[in-house]
Symmetry: C2
DNA sequence: CGGTAGGTGTTACCGTTAGTAACAATGGCA
DNA sequence: TGCCATTGTTACTAACGGTAACACCTACCG
C-alpha cells in the first residue's frame, strides 16, 4: 500500500532528522553557536549536502535546534507560573526557574540568545529595524503577555498593557540574568528578590539620598 | 624636534582614523551591520590592509564605531535623567529619550545591538557564558546602576541592588523598545507610560481576573 | 524480470569573507 | 645621500555557506 509505505519513509526521515539534530546539538554545545556546518556534518558522520537537504540552510537547522530547547524552557517556566499561591511567590518562582536554567546549561543559553536572523520574507529587503532580539526572547515575551492578559484584570486597553509588560519583564529578566551569569555578583536567590522588588515598585518608593539632586 | 613632530604625526593619524570611521559609518548605516571590510575600504577610497593597520580587525573597527554612537546616546540619556523634578517624570523622560533615539535612527540602533563578541582575552577559550548582550546594554546598565546608587538611599547592600536594577531596567527598556519598533502596537508616549507603570508597581497592585486561577 | 522513482551519500566546485605577506612610493630628517 | 616610518598597492591564504553533478541502494510496479 502506498500510504503506509509513505508513512514508513516519513518516519525513517524523521528519525534521521532527529539523529542529525542530536549530532548538531553536541557540536553546538561543544564549539559554541558559530559551529560550522562542516563540523556538524562530521560529527554526524556525513557530509554537508545532506544537512542542507534536511534543513535547507544553516538558519533552518538552528531554528529546529532552538525549538527543542525553547519548548523545554517554556514548559518549566509555565510550571513555575502555576506553582505557588501568592502572586509574589509565583513571580519569584518564575524568575528563579529561568535563572536556574541558564545557570545549569550556559552553553544552551548562549546558543539560544544567538540572533539567527530568521528569514525576513515579508520585509522589503534592507531595514527591518526591530527583530534584533533573539527569537527566544520574543516568544517568552508573547507567552508572558498572554498569561498576564488572561489572569489580570487590567481594565480597558489591558491587552496592550499586558504585551508591553510581557516583553518588558522578559527583557529585564534576560539582561539581569546575562549580567549576573557573567559576573556572579550575588546568589541566585538574592537576584530573584532584587528583581521582584523592582517589579513591586520599590524603585518608586525609595527615598532620595539625603543632600543629593534626587532621582 | 622629535616630540612635536611625533605629535604632528599622531594628529594626522588620528584625523585619518576619523575619516575612515566616518566612511565606515556611512557604509554600516547603508548596508547594515554585516557590511564587509572590502565595502568599507572602497567607500573610504582605499583598500583593506589600511583598515587593518588602523583598527586591527573587524571587531576593532566596530568597537571604535560603536563607541561614538554609544557616547552620544548616553549623553542624551543623562540629560533626560537630570531634566524634570518628580522622579516619575525623570524616568519617563529617560525612557522617552531612549525610544526617541532608536526610533529616529533604527540603523544605528541595529548596529549597536549587533553582538560584536568583543575580544575575550582573559577567558580560557571556549565558554564565557555571560557577555551575550551587546556592549551597549552593559554600558547603559552600569551607568544607570551608578546613578541609582548615587541618588537613592537604598540602605545596606544598596550598591548591589542598584546594579541589579540598572541592568534590569535597561533590559526592560531594550526588549520592550525592540518589540515596539518592530510592531508599532502603540504610540511612544503610551509605551513610556506603560513601562513606567510597570516600574511603579502596578503589576503587584493589579486585581486578579475574576473567576480565573489568579496570578 | 527490468525500469523507474526517491532517498542517501559522495566529490568537487563556486563566490564571498576576514585577514596577511610582500612590495612600491612618498616624504621628512640626519 | 641614506635612513626610517607611513601610506598605499596587488595578490594571496584559509575558511565559510551553499550547490551541482553524479553514484548507489532499495522498493514498488508493469
Amino acid at each position: 500500500m502506498q500510504t503506509s509505505q509513505r508513512t514508513d519513509q516519513q518516519r525513517a526521515t524523521e528519525r534521521r532528522r532527529k539523529e542529525l539534530l542530536e549530532a548538531a546539538d553536541r557540536v553546538v554545545l561543544r564549539d559554541g553557536p558559530e559551529a560550522s556546518m562542516n563540523a556538524i556534518a562530521a560529527e554526524a558522520g556525513i557530509t554537508k549536502p545532506i544537512l542542507y537537504r534536511h534543513f535547507g540552510d544553516k538558519n533552518g537547522l538552528y531554528r529546529a535546534l532552538a525549538k527543542r530547547h525553547t519548548d523545554a524552557l517554556l514548559a518549566s517556566l509555565r510550571t513555575a507560573l502555576d506553582s505557588a499561591d501568592a502572586r509574589r511567590d509565583r513571580v519569584e518562582a518564575t524568575l528563579d526557574a529561568y535563572l536556574t536554567a541558564i545557570e545549569a546549561r550556559p552553553q544552551v543559553y548562549r546558543f539560544l540568545m544567538h540572533p539567527t536572523e530568521q528569514e525576513s520574507s515579508d520585509t522589503e529587503k534592507g531595514f527591518d529595524a526591530g527583530r534584533q532580539s533573539a527569537p527566544l526572547l520574543r516568544r517568552l515575551g508573547e507567552e508572558l503577555a498572554r498569561i498576564i492578559a488572561e489572569r489580570l484584570d487590567l481594565g480597558p486597553g489591558g491587552d496592550e498593557l499586558a504585551r508591553v509588560w510581557g516583553h518588558g519583564i522578559v527583557g529585564m529578566m534576560h539582561a539581569a540574568g546575562d549580567w549576573w551569569l557573567g559576573e556572579r555578583p550575588c546568589s541566585r536567590e538574592q537576584l530573584v528578590r532584587h528583581l521582584a522588588d523592582l517589579l513591586w515598585g520599590r524603585l518608586a518608593a525609595a527615598a532620595d539620598m539625603p543632600g543629593g539632586p534626587g532621582l
